[in-house]
């Protein structure tokens, strides 16, 4: 009964949030983009609303959070009650505060990593497709070799070699993910470089950088954007997984992955508090995928 009720409340929240977000975006969008928002599915507007909420929480963390990030405020494992609405963790830190700061760290690092992976991967991929020949072969076979190593084991190896700091974490995961982006960008660009307009631009004497930036990239955007959304989720999970294994973000920095691990013992007592960070990850992953699906749908021209 309680389960059904909470399911009902969740669904109602989903529709309400989706509808409000859509109406809001439709109202503030410039005139030529209005039809896009009018026809957008509720899942997409819900996804955008959730992502926006995460971004707001992450940027305004110090102002929203009731306590300090690593501040010990009471006994360990306090139950849900004011002023600790979600209780405390095993060191007596406020759970809600840690969740809010976790958004900043985990989402921020995931975003930086994905952006870096895309910057490197897509530019190199398009470049390889554009140049072709031996260089393309060498680069692509090297990337294939890297991709043959399981991603998690490869990042564990690299992190063990270079040590764990936020910067190395970002660089290592970006390097691993850039190989996947490279392959996608290269195959998309291979279809574009044979078009007449690329030939025309080459004959005009355009440089490589301009060819990549203005002639190829805009035409490869749709699949890359879709991939960005998915890749963002994978990176997110990778960081959480690494933190859970103890090689990710260092304590006392709040991070959703390590928060699950630290408080895992509570699960045996039937308390769901340790699952809240996991839920936060799940919700963001679902939200991002809703938006990506919508964009894919639009790009592929399937309007129905």
């Amino acid at each position: 009964m309680t389960l059904l009720l909470s399911l009902g409340i969740a669904l109602a929240l989903f529709f309400a949030l989706g509808l409000i977000a859509r109406t809001l975006m439709h109202a503030i969008a410039p005139a030529h983009q209005k039809p896009m928002f009018r026809d957008m599915p509720l899942t997409a507007s819900f996804g955008i609303a959730i992502i926006a909420a995460y971004v707001i929480v992450a940027t305004l963390a110090p102002f929203i959070a009731p306590f300090g990030e690593g501040e010990v405020v009471g006994d360990q494992y306090l139950p849900w009650a004011a002023p600790h609405f979600l209780g405390t963790d095993k060191l007596g830190r406020d759970m809600l505060t840690r969740l809010i700061y976790g958004a900043r760290n985990t989402v921020g690092i995931a975003f930086a990593t994905t952006a870096l992976a895309f910057l490197v991967g897509s530019i190199l991929g398009i470049w390889a497709a554009l140049i072709g020949g031996k260089l393309d072969q060498w680069m692509s076979r090297f990337v294939d070799a890297l991709m043959a190593i399981p991603a998690l084991i490869f990042s564990l190896l690299l992190l063990t070699i270079f040590g764990t700091s936020v910067l190395t974490l970002i660089l290592v995961i970006a390097a691993v993910d850039a190989t996947r982006v490279y392959r996608l960008a290269r195959s998309v660009a291979q279809g574009i470089v044979v078009m007449d307009y690329i030939e025309a631009a080459r004959l005009r004497g355009e440089g490589t950088w301009r060819l990549i930036r203005r002639e190829i990239l805009p035409n490869a955007m749709a699949p890359l954007v879709a991939e960005f959304g998915l890749r963002f989720c994978f990176v997110f999970l990778a960081i959480s997984a690494l933190s859970f294994l103890g090689l990710g973000i260092k304590p006392p920095t709040a991070d959703w992955g390590s928060m699950v691990r630290e408080n895992a013992t509570l699960i045996t007592f039937g308390d769901i508090t340790p699952l809240l960070p996991a839920g936060a990850i799940a919700l963001l992953t679902v939200a991002v995928n809703f938006v990506v699906d919508w964009q894919l749908h639009r790009a592929s021209g399937l309007k129905e």
């Binding site: 007449d196 025309a200 004959l203």
Partner: protein, 538 residues
């Protein structure tokens, strides 16, 4: 006619969907076709010819619906009958031949397997009889090796042969009606003749009625007993082929005829240093030579047409000139100066001098750039224009190609029609202020009225800006209207070259004569006379 007509279409209305709205494509057309009669449907692209042709089978494409009127095929109301009954008719009593035979055959099956499918499925004859029948029809279609050709796969025969095999397949159940949808549009002139002659021969032998859809008047004049002219989904006029050609009633029909009559005066023979000089060029891909010892000159203010059937090396010559394909032997000289073989080694000014306009404007314009950047980029790069000067230049160029600058400057290519896109291609070439423009089949993807507009524009620009054109085409009608000099190519070599007037009046080589005599003329007797002259039987 005393007999009941085969097909009666009355007040047919067809609508197409765009977004949430239905808009009319065919607006109340009547059509009557007697047994054994060939009706030609002509009009520009978008006139609703193909939609009407398909409706004669009781079929509407995805996103289209038949919204009104009646289709009566030999006493059967095609709109009222069930889909299963209509399907029983299709292929058996009504057949369809599409424009691209290559796309219509299943590449995974042999020709004869595809031939036998319809007769076997419709229970007309068993498989072994159908195979014998296929060979008989292949022979009537004058396909080479009729006994064996059926056992080849579609990619193993040429485009013209494939189109004939497609027609043979349509004949397999001896239908009462065949709908031909632009069957020869994708073929070059010499192949077109063979296909036209073969189609006409079998249609006459079996007394099959046909609807022949095309935008080429000269072709329809050979094939049809009656012609119906369509414009934007409505009938303009219909009459006997001879009457229609001799005394068209409507202005629109006359304008279709007039397209063929555009011809500019031949420019005087030029002297001095040619803008472009191709000297003894031999070039090819891999080990194969596509061009052997090709030479020709192009002078300022003159148009040199390079003609030949597909595969004759016309476009390869353009690739050598632009530097995309460095030649094995020979050189390309521009204004007296030998150019480096590869475009990568050429200076920016060398690149500027020679611009290219492509056949398919859809793939030649970056779909994500606005016209401002598409046209402005060469001016920005070569002439160093920026800011206000660049904006003014782009607006000037748009006015030059007869597009209103304020309306079009911030549009994307997808917001333009086919003819407008080709104009943008021209403007982009002009923006570099070149001496030579290579036009690679620039008009062959456009219908005739739009073609005429483009040709007139090119002609005007040539005299205003003293440009030289290299005009690559397989359409000799275009050559007649725009060229000063003609270079005839076959199998990668120059067969004959000379000024247009002398070459058209007195061709020296057999191949040139064959090519010239293959261009369809308006005279309905033309195909008969030609075939008689070539010693074949119609």
């Amino acid at each position: 006619m005393e007999k009941h007509p085969l097909l009666i279409i009355k007040d047919l209305r067809i609508e197409g969907r765009s977004g949430d709205q239905w808009h009319p494509i065919v607006k109340g057309v009547d059509l009557t076709l007697n047994r054994g009669e060939v009706l030609g449907l002509i009009g520009e692209s978008g006139a609703g010819k193909s939609t009407l042709g398909l409706a004669a089978m009781g079929f509407a494409r995805d996103g289209c619906r038949i919204s009104g009127g009646s289709i009566d095929f030999d006493g059967i109301d095609l709109r009222a009958t069930a889909e299963t009954e209509r399907r029983a008719l299709r292929g058996k009593r009504i057949a369809y031949v599409a424009q691209s035979a290559a796309a219509s055959f299943n590449p995974a099956h042999k020709l004869i397997d595809q031939y036998c499918e319809a007769p076997v499925v419709h229970g007309v004859m068993p498989r072994d009889k159908a195979e014998v029948d296929a060979v008989d029809i292949y022979r009537r279609m004058r396909l080479p090796n009729p006994d064996d050709i059926g056992f080849r796969y579609p990619h193993q025969v040429s485009g013209g042969q494939l189109q004939r095999a497609m027609t043979a397949m349509a004949m397999s159940c001896r239908p009462d009606l065949i709908i031909f949808d632009e069957p020869t549009t994708a073929l070059d002139v010499t192949t077109q003749i063979e296909v036209l002659a073969a189609i006409r021969a079998v249609v006459r032998q079996f007394g099959t009625a046909a609807i022949y859809i095309t935008h080429d008047l000269a072709v329809v004049a050979q094939m049809a007993d009656r012609i119906k002219v369509l414009l934007r989904g409505a009938e303009i006029e219909e009459s006997d082929t001879r009457n229609m050609l001799a005394t068209p009633r409507e202005d629109y029909t006359r304008s279709l005829w007039a397209v063929r009559s555009f011809a500019r005066a031949e420019q005087p023979q030029a002297t001095g240093t040619p803008v472009l000089s191709v000297r003894n060029v031999t070039a090819g891909y891999g080990a194969v030579d596509v061009l052997t010892d090709v030479s020709f000159d192009i002078h300022a203010r003159r148009t040199v047409a390079v003609v030949g059937e597909s595969g004759s090396g016309k476009s390869t010559a353009a690739r050598v000139i632009t530097g995309l394909l460095p030649p094995r032997k020979g050189e390309v000289i521009m204004s007296g100066k030998a150019l480096p073989p590869s475009f990568k080694a050429r200076s920016r000014d060398d690149l500027r001098q020679c611009q290219m306009i492509y056949q398919m404007a859809d793939t030649a314009l970056n779909p994500k750039l606005r016209l401002r950047e598409l046209i402005g980029r060469p001016a920005e790069m070569y002439l160093g224009l920026t800011g206000r000067a660049l904006d003014t230049r782009v607006r000037d160029l748009l006015s030059l190609i007869e597009l209103e600058p304020a309306t079009y400057i911030d549009r994307l290519p997808s917001e333009l029609s086919g003819g407008q896109k080709q104009r943008i291609g021209i403007a982009r070439a002009l923006a570099a202020e070149p001496k030579l423009i290579i036009c690679d089949e620039v008009t062959s993807a456009l219908d005739q009225i739009v073609q005429e507009g483009i040709l007139k524009l090119l002609d005007r620009l040539q005299s205003e800006l003293s440009l030289a054109y290299m005009f690559i085409t397989h359409d000799l009608a275009t050559v007649k209207s725009i060229a000063d000099e003609v270079v005839v190519m076959q199998h990668g070599a120059v067969v004959e070259r000379g000024s247009k007037s002398t070459l058209f009046a007195a061709p020296q080589e057999d191949y040139t004569r064959l090519l010239l005599s293959s261009v369809p003329e308006m005279d309905p007797e033309w195909l008969d006379n030609l075939l008689a002259a070539r010693g074949e039987h119609a």
